[in-house]
Amino acid sequence: MLVLVLDTSTPAVTAAVADVTPTGHAVVAELRAVDGRAHGELMAPEIDEVLRKAGASVRDLRAIVAGTGPGPFTGLRVGLVTAASMGQALGIPAHGVCSLDAIGGVPGQVTLVATDARRREVYWALYDQAGARVEGPHVDLPEAAVERAAGATVAVGDGAMKYADRLGLEVRDEPRYPRVDAFVRLAAERVRAGAPSEPLTPLYLRRPDAVAAGGHKPVLR
């Protein structure tokens, strides 16, 4: 069963086609452009192109898997609304996966996964030695993330790389962004079971910046 994988939670705009079989899964084609300010421009042409690369048509797709973040809001919504609209148009289910889970822990290590949340903060989660998420996702200053991520021995993700000198942890270069293979693995059971669409709710973690209107400010002195 062919599935389309989309993630726009980081500067990496990702589109991929994968095949989910009764016992496994394989990535058929994958495209990734890195540009934190052009998610809206890059997403649709990438989908078009990755389908062509996979030798598939949209009508061959049986499910869509989308990264639900956390990630900078404007870009994150591009992937999610694309997944939701395509799922609706094709009459196929859309499944959400936490994007930090798709970066995932380093096997055998307690791992801090951190992506760039802008405003000098990181989105982060903590994974145990077996790769299970045990804390998060949260958004914090890098130092606060390390303090809360008790027992971490290694850190990965573009946020970890950006603030490597402030973490006091070994920081690895890879995986830097959410991985297509992990998205498919984490959604495979739902795809095989033909599970219904889920609302693709972004993991915003922050409230909108807005202040309630005060009273009228006098113009007369």
Binding site: H39, A44, D48, F73, R77, V78, S85, Q88, A89, A210
Partner: protein, 347 residues
């Protein structure tokens, strides 16, 4: 392509998630979800709140429109979407959704100009627009006068506000008078029980402004003048005649809007004036425009209020016009352009 194309339109430039479906100039569906209540306590539209609401509303609003029209995405000839101007994050939700629908349903997508769509929507109510026409577009975000030579290809901006939009002035004055957001409807209601007895300023109407700003608007000074007048009353311990203030303020806005619109028609030898945008729902603006236009033989076209405010039908109407005119669709890398110029009807 047929001259009666089935076109779906998506609108997310501000706080309304709209999906409309038209066949030619016949309206089949106009589904709308508004986040206006979420913005009320902030006294204005909060962009991030609007963007979040668009994402939640997109799929259900699309479903309601398709059900209402009794069509499927496979049936449509094209998908049109507001690609600007508007709030960047809000626009992007609609543009990305439109491309998702277009890629999945293998349909062309047209990124269209929100302001041109406010003009095009009138064709759903009054049929094809005589060209050239003058359009007055007034809303919470825009106040513009346009010369519409060819709705499919070119719109010439004649003037616009140099500070606040007309609808923004309504919102601010309403707040000053203790009325809820959005301010247009409560001011309109209060004004019906009041008299326009207070002489508030008419921005950019003085002789000295005519060379540089003949067709431009300014409402910031008016808003401040109203605030000064009200505060002076309050300081003197006198009651504020809210209905009279509302009527006088509304009259000042509508006087300038209609006078400049009629002036534009006469200067360009045009006998059709189209009014669109949320402020076009104002009863005084409609009445005054009719009255002044009739005196000089100009026909005023104003769509019904639900079509004046932001909606998907207007985007579908413009899309339908573009498809029928043989305009090429947009590319899949179509960006959301918060400052999309009026010279671009589609991209």
């Amino acid at each position: 392509m047929t001259d009666e194309p089935l076109v779906l339109g998506i609108e997310t430039s501000c706080d309304e998630t709209g999906v409309g479906i038209v066949r030619g100039t016949t309206l089949l569906a106009d589904a709308l979800a508004s986040s206006v209540d979420l913005h009320a306590r902030f006294g204005g539209v909060v962009p991030e709140v609007a963007s979040r609401a668009h994402l939640e509303a997109m799929v259900p609003t699309m479903q309601r429109a398709l059900d209402e029209a009794g069509v499927t995405l496979a049936d449509v000839d094209a998908i049109a979407v507001t690609s600007g101007p508007g709030l960047a994050g809000a626009l992007l939700v609609g543009v990305a959704a439109a491309k998702g629908y277009a890629v999945a349903a293998e349909k062309p997508v047209y990124g269209v100009n929100h302001l041109a769509a406010h003009v095009a929507v009138d064709t759903l109510e009054h049929g094809p627009l005589p060209e050239p026409a003058i359009a007055l577009l007034v809303s919470g975000g825009h106040s513009s006068l346009l010369l519409v030579d060819d709705l499919a290809g070119g719109v010439t901006p004649l003037g616009s506000t140099i500070d606040d939009a007309a609808g923004e002035a309504f919102d601010k004055v309403a707040r000053l008078l203790g009325m809820p957001f959005p301010g247009g409807p409560p001011i309109d209601r209060a004004a019906r029980d009041g008299q326009a007895t207070i002489a508030f300023p008419r921005g950019l109407t003085a002789a000295k402004d005519q060379a540089a700003h003949r067709f431009d608007f300014s409402f910031s000074g008016l808003k401040t003048a109203v605030a000064r007048w009200v505060e002076a009353r309050e300081r003197a311990g006198e009651p504020v005649p809210v209905n009279d203030v509302a009527a006088s303020f509304q009259d000042a806005v509508c006087d300038v809007l209609t006078a400049k619109a009629i002036d534009a028609c006469r200067q360009h030898g045009v006998d059709t004036l189209v009014i669109g945008g949320g402020v076009a729902a104002n009863s005084r603006l409609r009445a005054l425009a009719e009255e002044r236009a009739a005196k000089v033989g100009i026909t005023v076209r104003v769509p019904r209020p639900k079509l004046c405010t932001d909606n998907g039908a207007m985007v579908a109407a413009l899309g339908s016009h573009l498809v029928a005119a043989g305009v090429r669709p947009s590319r899949l890398d179509l960006p959301a352009d918060s400052a999309m110029p009026l010279t671009l009807v589609s991209v």
